[in-house]
């Protein structure tokens, strides 16, 4: 045991759990593999076979390296959870990029990694070329990754592959989802997956029928329905066609996607409360209230600004082109039904500013959405109000401030501080990226729009994201998507772990 508590103690634990996550992804490649086999798409079939072989070998090797963890029943600490989460995402990005790179639809392996990170983080920005001629196998892979990325890949892999899940809650937090619906983690994971799969069934059927009604053939309507639902629910923004939602040219199709991307952007705790009989939670919850207020303000301002410019003549086109895109931005989905150049040329600086604000605020905490999250915005706002009230009241008067989120909670200074810190981290990431975009020669408004889309894991583009953008900007966007999705702490833990290790080696 003493030997085990040596300098490799942490590396062994991290290797063991990371191995299971990699093995989990290897299992998932069986789905696109089967799709390619059934549809006789032989090139993608072999691409997935190669990925499966590499992932399985790597996963088993990592488990083998860390096998002492199981033998000694080692205790998982917070730092291990954070490092496993952040490290796994990097390894999975590289592994999952293999089918993209082999498909010939990307210009470089970096572009493939960009698209995978965009999918995992439910961002939705695309560098893959000629989407209209992509195999169904690779399309299945793209949309599946975004669907699973939204629910949490590490939790999925660890809860279903490991028998012992004593420390699994740590991995939830590590992956940016501090959620505990029921005391045991397997139960929580099952609830999350039950809710998602039931909606998957309803959403796919609704979009499938709608697809047939608008003239798609049944097979294509089915795959479109499945892919679009996966993107909507995970607030991802990927679509099987280059023109995104414009391809379907259908108001009803757009309405169905709004329903599911709004539902996807809600907290899983809220879904669970509503499904457990507490329907009033939908109205009482501070996050839904915050979401309603901020979407109301941003949508109204965008409609007012764009009606002044006269781009959209009637209320229906205003709803379809403006409110739809604002809601898509605010829920961090990224479905778009206007061209990127239209944002740049028709929406004006004020319209772009509204979109930037909506994208940065984002959806709910512990949902599939990105951005600051409504809960943090509401907590900081309430904290400011509370501070003002404290200043105005008598000093002897000690008053507790509360808010309702699943249950009545007390607004503490610590909670306000943590929320404000995370918002600051987002803003710093956004500002650096915007400055970098401006440095590379993009207009400031375009750089701000694209960077807000990246930081908030949204996926709307104003035209900056192309395969020909500077490599430095591509790499920064990958890092920003990753930071935004994991909400900074896990990545900081990984950096700290690496620096700590290097420091120890240097001293020795």
């Amino acid at each position: 045991m003493n030997t085990f508590k040596s300098k490799f103690y942490s590396i062994v634990i991290i290797s063991y759990y990371t191995g299971f996550v990699v093995l989990g992804i290897a299992f998932l490649t069986l789905i696109p593999l089967a799709t390619s086999l059934l549809l006789r798409e032989w090139n993608p079939f072999f691409d997935f076979l190669i990925t499966l072989a590499i992932s399985t070998t790597l996963g088993l090797s990592l488990i083998l390296i860390g096998r002492e963890t199981r033998e000694n029943k080692s205790f998982v600490q917070w730092k291990h959870g954070f490092v496993v989460a952040s490290l796994s995402w990097v390894i999975l990005m590289v592994l999952c990029a293999i089918p993209y790179a082999l498909s010939g639809h990307v210009y470089s392996f970096l572009d493939a990694c960009f698209d995978v990170m965009s999918g995992f983080t439910t961002t939705g920005l695309v560098l893959t070329q000629d989407l209209d001629h992509l195999s169904l196998g690779l399309n299945m892979w793209r949309h599946m990754l975004t669907f699973i990325g939204g629910q949490g890949m590490i939790v999925l892999a660890l809860t279903f592959l490991l028998k012992e899940t004593g420390g699994a809650y740590i991995f939830y937090v590590g992956e940016g989802k501090d959620i505990n619906l029921v005391p045991n983690v397997k139960g929580t994971a099952r609830i999350i997956w039950k809710i998602s799969l039931i909606y998957l069934l309803i959403g796919t059927i609704a979009l499938w029928i709608n697809g047939i009604l608008i003239g798609l053939n049944p097979l294509s309507a089915f795959f479109s329905g499945l892919f679009i639902f996966e993107s909507a629910w995970s607030t991802g923004g990927f679509a099987p066609y280059t023109q995104n939602m414009m391809f379907y040219h259908s108001f009803s199709y757009e309405i169905i996607t709004i329903v599911f991307f709004i539902l996807g952007s809600l907290n899983f705790g809220l879904h669970y409360a509503a499904w457990s009989g507490n329907k009033k939670e939908i109205v009482k919850n501070i996050e839904t209230q915050s979401f309603f207020i901020t979407t109301f303000i941003t949508s109204a301002l965008a409609v007012i600004a764009l009606s002044k410019s006269g781009v959209y003549a009637d209320a229906v086109s205003m709803f379809r082109r403006v409110v739809y895109n604002v809601l898509s931005a605010h829920t961090t989905t990224g479905f778009n039904n206007v061209y990127a150049s239209q944002f740049a040329k028709e929406w004006g600086d004020f319209g772009i500013l509204i979109m930037v604000v909506a994208m940065l605020i984002g959806g709910s905490a512990c949902s599939t959405a990105g951005g600051f999250k409504g809960l943090r915005v509401a907590v900081v706002f309430k904290g400011v109000i509370a501070d003002i009230k404290k200043l105005l009241s008598s000093e002897r008067n000690v008053k507790l401030f509360r808010f309702h989120h699943i249950k009545e909670q007390i607004l503490t200074d610590g909670l306000v501080k943590v929320s404000a810190l995370i918002i600051i981290c987002y803003m710093v990431t956004f500002t650096i990226g915007m400055a970098l975009g401006a440095y590379y020669g993009y207009p400031l408004s375009n750089a701000a729009f694209e960077m807000a889309s990246v930081t908030g894991n949204v996926g709307l583009s104003i035209g900056v994201t192309t395969p020909f953008m500077p490599v430095g900007l591509k790499v920064y966007y990958i890092i920003a998507m990753y930071l935004g999705r994991l909400e900074f702490i896990s990545v900081f833990a990984l950096i700290g772990f690496i620096i700590g290790g290097v420091k120890k080696l240097w001293i020795k």
Partner: protein, 34 residues
């Protein structure tokens, strides 16, 4: 994967809430365009 009665009611309540929300935003657009 079976759904309990409460769960079905919860799901319908969520769909209804989002439906009302979308309708409200649709009306808002009309009101602002007038």
């Amino acid at each position: 994967m079976q759904m309990k009665k409460n769960e079905v009611k919860g799901l319908l309540a969520e769909l209804l809430a989002v439906g009302v929300y979308i309708a409200a935003f649709y009306l808002l657009t009309f009101a602002l365009m007038m």
